[in-house]
Symmetry: D2
Subunit: 312 residues, 4 copies
């Protein structure tokens, strides 16, 4: 692990202090006990530059689970497994004004294809595509991919979070069976649920997440190892989805106010990418009503304004 | 069984011949193989009078499964088990313009309560309420109730249909998990699916179904045994639902064109009630686009016009 | 006017006192000032028997406007003008779980045809069908029809209510233009709005309304004059719509709890029909959340329970 | 006019020949006669560089109307008139999976605020904000703004198209009245319709449109005059909307396949921006099923692939 080599940065610390002021306006996800244990006022961030240097600030010792952030990683893997044509026959490319866990549009829009891979329905369909001869091998492929992206081979899952989500994911099961009815999902739903809840429960530090961001900033090449972990075209495609659909149904507002590719999770994590420059990993578990880290978004607004990060 | 005592009726036979002309405009349900085997041009009907006499015509030897017709019977049983207040806290009383298997309104309408017990979502919630210490006892209570209503203790299920529906009921599972997420359904979904697909697979002849109709015509009292099998208030309530929601999202048109309480199933069965006079059991597997027996509805239109059956 | 001849009835008075207890749980419509002036605690009712006798109780001196009650009367007139086929090519027969002023289903359901004539979209389409060489003649035909139904040739409109609704009916205009886009409505929308708001503003006493109910109770024949004002088939059809769709999206519940044809308006009026026996006219301006007179429904529940009025 | 100075470019001509192959798979808009007259197989494009040079190819003599392209221009003007806070209280920032002329989400999503300014509902609300003491002055301000953006003071409207759209814009009227009901739109709807149909009927050549694109490429500064016509922040904001919502409900796919800010209209026009480098103006009236120029999109895909235009 490289975290030891990463210095606390005073500028970043100041932005974090400023951004922390809004944690009180959000609340911690409470739909599973493991997430509800998070400290509402935590906020940490790390920046990993494409030259391999990094800075960090805030509560860096806290592990958090990827949750929806994993959607962008399994999308990359599924695209590497099957190519664009196969994937986008089953999942659309369009942003939606609906909440991430909505089912209504699957019924009212033909041909019952999830609108994009960043909403739950689409992500379930994508995870269902991951190659592997059984669920163990599929998960092994996912976590190995994440370990390579972070260059951190200690990355593992929170068994407690995975189990807790598996035990209560009724809405995701509802989505899966709906998609199975329409041929978008194949195979056993419970196996898919196990795989999906595990991918959501992969845990790491902000710095690991920042390093994943740096891989995307380099269009798929790892800043430390120099390996092309994701083909450039797929890396760009993932960044595009992060812009149009990465922040749930607040993606449009985020594009205007921050303007960089980012993906959030209900754990309070945010993966953000400043193309060609650096990746950002954030953990701030107090969420706004759309499910995004309220102080994480504030922090990115401050950074974007200060350093002119918007790609627009 | 009383079927032997029931004479073929020439008038009824003529109406059936007339109604059969429309079978070609519909098609047999094909979502499970067992239903797809039905003969599109079959049409049989039996009328059971409240004085215990009966007439019949058409292909009376054919067994058919109740499918959605069972919804009105489990509703009666659930109301007898729990009373109106409990049941209608979990299921609404309002007709809907949506198809019977729709999920969209569960999301867009608060508090995620199925609009009525005649659509799949509502019926699944009702079946989930049936009392019993395990799934076997629950099913035993349902089939015993049906045997009492028909006064035919040989009534059983089509294992083949039950299994086939159980194996493919992805949309119903989707509905169940959605309802479980919102606390409308409790317990194990697979057990509920087993119970529900069995209740749908209860099979009988038109005459048995006509006899159930006669029980409703007498507000719950059995015409043969004289036993009050359903309390009058509940029997009336079930008939009301049959009028407002019994023929899927063609209920309004049916009320205008026929005007009697009726409940259809995708097997092609129709249970109809002429209050205080008789019950009608119909089997015609060719379905219109809403899922109702196309010739069955035609037959009821002819009977209603001829004998002024409308309650309106 | 026959109101003078109608005696105050002590039984009815008692039911009204009982029903009045719930007026405090509702509220008076406030979307136009003229309706907001109503006294929340008023409740009056009249019963007009098919033999020409009547009883009344409550605040009988109050005039109220028909509002949505007029929908069932223009439906009868349009059916007399054009026949069923023409009318039901443009308006459906199905109840809907949506509010009366909803537009969403017009977009999501093909072919953009209002689900039934009792919701605003459907009623606007029906009023658009009324024959007449100009808007004045069309309105003259409507009010003449209402005067004949009440046998009260002093019936007129509240100009104040008509104007007030005309000035603010943005949602109805939105529905009209949507329907015009889809060819369901022809001609000038402002003329239609004028006609529609006038028909809604026709005002009368409870006894007049009760007399209209008596006409429906006799399947279209006037109890006083003996004239067949509405063909029997159309009168029955209107009663059917009153059962399936008459009480907005509380029609299903009303069918279960009361069980007679009825149509409500946001003025607090209710027209109710006890087939072959009598008509009921009610005015109670305190509305429940669905837009029905809260004490009016309570009164009908009490009467239905006491006198076994349900047709089911 | 600078068009004379703009040379036909052979590379561009070749791309146009290639892109023209798909015109046969689309069709010309036919909802008003004036648009239906366009030649399905036309395709022209102009590129205006930020240094003031330009190239062009295809049928450059054809004028076309802006239609929805005008939405991004009036948005800029409304933001200059009122600031972000005022504008975004009335119109959202989120992309939607629904068609541009949809009304359903206005009803199902609170607070009845159009999801973004690029769908019709949002654009109508934005046009309603344009300052001016009467409709003439408002339109004068819009067309003056467009003339400044194109540096072409001969820009005018097609009266024929404006009148034709005004005469048939029932759906837009429906949207306006719905928004008026909810306080999003104020004032007279017919005046707004006149203003809106005029803004849609502003006509120009591809080169004029390319020059508008160049203004956005320079974040609001005109490449010829050097004037800051749009404040930088607003110009960036408009480009962001062009990326997330500019190509109707195909914006997500366009972002992936092309990856530059663009706005299309049903006339077949496309305004595209390559930040800091150039603007592109395209006219190809054959439309795909989402309403975008089918050959125009193909042309942009070819250019984006060849010259690596994607901002992602």
């Amino acid at each position: 692990m490289t975290e030891m080599a990463c210095q606390t940065n005073l500028d970043l610390q100041q932005f974090i202090e400023e951004a922390k002021k809004v944690t009180k306006y959000g609340k911690v996800a409470d739909y599973i006990p493991a997430l509800a244990e998070a400290n509402q006022h935590d906020l940490s961030a790390a920046i990993y530059y494409v030259d391999g240097t990094c800075v960090k600030a805030g509560e860096m010792e806290t592990y958090f689970t990827l949750q929806s952030i994993s959607k962008v990683l399994t999308l990359a893997l599924a695209l590497m497994d099957h190519g664009q044509e196969y994937v986008f026959e089953r999942v659309g490319m369009e942003p939606t004004g609906d909440p991430f866990n909505s089912i209504a549009k699957l019924e009212t829009v033909n041909p019952s294809k999830p609108l994009n891979p960043m909403i739950n329905a689409g992500a379930l369909a994508v995870t269902n595509m991951i190659k592997g001869k059984n669920k163990e091998e599929k998960f092994e492929r996912i976590i190995t991919f994440v370990r390579n992206l972070t260059n951190n081979h200690t990355i593992s899952i929170s068994e407690k979070v995975a189990q807790s989500e598996y035990d209560t994911a009724w809405l995701n099961r509802s989505l899966c069976y709906f998609l199975k009815e329409h041929g978008i999902i194949q195979g056993d739903v419970e196996e898919l649920m196990e795989l999906y809840t595990k991918q959501c429960a992969i845990q790491m530090h902000s710095l690991d997440l920042a390093k994943i961001g740096a891989v995307f900033a380099l269009n798929g090449k790892h800043p430390e190892t120099g390996m092309q972990l994701i083909p450039e075209k797929i890396a760009r495609l993932c960044k595009t989805f992060m812009v149009t659909c990465g922040m749930y149904n607040a993606s449009g507002e985020f594009a205007i106010k921050v303007g960089i590719p980012a993906k959030s999770g209900v754990s309070g994590g945010i993966l953000a990418v400043v193309p060609n420059r650096y990746g950002i990993g954030i953990f701030g578990p107090s969420l706004d009503e759309k499910g995004n880290s309220i102080s994480g978004i504030r922090l990115l607004e401050l950074l974007s304004a200060k350093y002119s990060l918007s790609i627009f």
